[in-house]
Symmetry: C2
């Protein structure tokens, strides 16, 4: 067999024609979203005013294993996909490990991350439905940029509520979104009831994803022809992101590899959910499958220290309740936390799979550990990774070093979700030794848990 190339590209014809709906194979499926008013499962009719209808249908679909990707979306995918599966030869050499390290690189598009995979789908369905506009929130800015690109492409208006602390740290992210035609509003803002309420309680509130979601949903509900789009957490988002894992699996088959370990960073869960899905299918079918590791920041540890229960998806309580691992919707990680992955909850799919032991392990890492791995990776692999992605790098490096000790030639696959071009304030802090770590105390967590609704089913 000839040597595995540095980058394994599929041809455009090999871009998958359908997304894989892991829920159809899950036993049990995760519990349904609940209407907080009635405590009954949310219906299509109840969700339609918020999300575009096709996305709601996908959200409620736990029976079809595959959902066809419309041609218009596949054609857009062809502009930046298939994304390369990279054999990290240089990192392997640097570490002196016998492990085979692969990463699926999703940062090679202008949004700088995997988020575009779902953004273009959501914008397409909105356009098909005859909608005029979308609203959304963004934290680090990757999702907002991705949706701005997608809406720019289909000629939809877009309003982005951007977590205030991020908007201030990242004026250039804002500029990219504006270049693609989006309106960007730092959140909390005075443009919504939810924002005004939060500002009244705390005028210096620096925002959170939960708050920004409340604002974006409120506007979607009020404006004609407008819906809300979410970049992670929800099932239809994870569905769109399965393109990552499906491509990865085909590419690995081409070089006769199958991962022993699959590693992904997990904030809302869309990246890990998408990367692992087709391998999880093997596990759910009882076949040989990888060891799955979810990596999260120690400053926002929903899987490792959160509670498994029903919670609101947002701070303003305008969303349905989801059964998930959560730190409580009122939990806001310290502002000194640099990366994304700041969400208080976790994808219901991932939460259920973790709860049932299908995701083998969750690991929390501190941000200085993460940036140390990021800089090492950048120097040898030539890609400046996003802080989010670097959580996965950290654990991939740790696993590869274990292989060095044991001599095991394991195959490691991790998701390199994006680039760090807009995270250089954080890199500078790290380079200059000014970066510190924050780990919430049990008391901090209790305060968060106290904001969870009391649900008895």
């Amino acid at each position: 067999m000839s040597k595995v190339p540095y980058k394994i590209y599929l041809s455009e014809n090999e871009i998958p024609r359908a997304w894989y709906n892991v829920r159809a194979d899950m036993k049990p499926d995760h519990p349904p979203f609940l209407n907080p008013g009635t405590m009954k499962p949310m219906t299509l009719e109840e969700l339609e005013p918020v999300f575009c209808t096709e996305c709601v249908k996908q959200e409620l679909n736990n029976t079809d294993r595959f959902i066809e990707i419309p041609d218009e979306i596949r054609n857009f995918y062809k502009m930046y996909r298939p994304s390369p599966l990279v054999r990290a030869y240089c990192l392997e050499r640097e570490l002196g490990t016998p492990a085979h390290i692969y990463y699926k690189y999703e940062g090679g598009n202008t949004s700088g991350s995997h988020k575009l995979n779902s953004a273009i789908a959501q914008a397409y369905y909105a356009k098909q439905q005859g909608l005029k506009a979308l609203t959304t929130e963004t934290g680090a800015g990757q999702w907002g940029t991705a949706l701005a690109m997608a809406c720019g492409y289909f000629g939809l208006d877009l309003t982005v509520y951007m977590v205030k602390v991020s908007a201030e740290q990242k004026p250039h992210r804002r500029a990219v979104m504006q270049t693609y035609g989006a309106q960007v509003i730092p959140s909390p803002s005075d443009t919504t009831e939810a924002g005004r309420k939060i500002l009244a309680a705390d005028p210096n509130n620096t925002g959170s994803l939960g708050t920004a979601i409340s604002e974006a949903v409120e506007v979607a509900l009020q404006k004609e022809g407008t819906r809300y789009a979410l970049g992670s957490v929800l099932d239809h988002v994870l569905l769109h992101q399965t393109i990552i894992g499906l491509e990865s699996k085909i590419a690995m088959e081409k070089v006769d590899e199958y991962p022993d370990i699959v590693i992904g960073c997990a904030g809302g869960g869309s990246n890990l959910g998408g990367l692992m899905a087709p391998f999880m299918a093997d596990k759910l079918a009882g076949k040989t499958a990888p060891h799955f590791i979810a990596v999260e920041p120690a400053s926002c540890p929903s899987l490792t220290r959160g509670r498994f229960g029903y919670d609101f998806c947002d701070v303003g309580h305008v969303t349905p309740l989801a059964q998930m691992y959560t730190l409580g919707n009122g939990f806001i990680p310290s502002a000194n936390h640099a990366g994304g992955l700041r969400y208080h909850g976790m994808s219901p799919v991932l939460s259920q799979l973790y709860h049932d032991g299908y995701i083998d392990e969750a690991r929390a890492v501190t941000q200085t550990e993460v940036f140390e791995a990021a800089v090492k990776f950048a120097r040898v692999e030539g890609i400046l990774p996003a802080p989010e992605s670097s959580h996965a790098i950290r654990v991939a490096v740790d696993e590869a070093l274990k292989c060095k000790e044991t001599g095991e030639e394991k195959t490691i696959l991790f998701g390199l979700t994006g680039t760090g071009y807009f995270d250089l304030t954080a890199y500078t802090a790290f380079n200059e030794g000014r970066m510190t770590d924050y780990i919430p105390t049990d008391e901090d967590l209790e305060k968060g848990f106290a904001t969870m609704p009391k649900v008895s089913l």
Copy 2:
């Protein structure tokens, strides 16, 4: 024949094994660099204290048509090459043109541009020679970032003199270079004779590439085990950049295409020089060849309004004299000019080819025209282009629109040299309608020409 895919990738085995040395085919070759002291051609011995020896040998080589790419460099290339040749279907549709538009996309690496192609070669040769450090200058920051990546990879120290106005506008560029281990000094600085002299005359001097070159060369000459590396203009840099054109030509052959028009932005000339080289070989051999268009900013119009003569490559007059199109080494474009391409001179190879009519045309475009094309391109093609690259986009769009009028199905190839992630201050100025154009008056130009040395051979 099946439809041309959106992106045409070569396999790693198809990465060219040799660079093409266009000078071996040029009749006449361009006049030699001159020692300003003796007015005699610069020798290997005279250039060795400045550049690493292998680069000097390549600089003086006008006989070997092909120069082998060492395996270590090819292996580094494999981390980000072959770069895709993209069929711009979405742009064609947007313009409603029958033209086939292709672009070679060099922005998919962390340096964000084609500059890495030569940076890794220069760092490799320096390492091979046992050197400890390199110095260089950078304007927009692409070259500095590329060389920082290359030096980081080979463990060489690097000092980058960054044009002061750019360093202030682009702190994040600086941070990337620092992440890769480089020391970045805004130029003019008080760390060199050349810098101190310029600051004494004008403490508010915002810098220029010419000034930064003087500083970097001075340090290279003084420090043990240190040489200087240049990112454009020189023949060995153009040689390394021929990888762009060589890959493009192979990729076009795969889809049965040959360009009618080749378009590249031209600052120092390395991108256009590299892109056009193998097609220029056809023209120099008397075969059918494309129409070549060099695009430059109206604010720094060396080919369209400069003089063809001997000039210093820098402001401080520490470099040899080169025969080229120049605005005079004392010419500094207005600080309101956003993009790169700020160099007063032009590659001697390109200058000679233009002078002899092999490059068919040079066109100067204003920056508002350029950003207009950049935003259009970003929205339909999904890539946020660098301002430099957008000069080529502007002219490619203009040529495609001509085809729309005439109905001609021309094949257009242009170089998309890089991404604009670090140029968002300029994009914001454009988005907010604050961008203005600057076109030097004839009087401005006369002042520049007056700084050219009086050379009579």
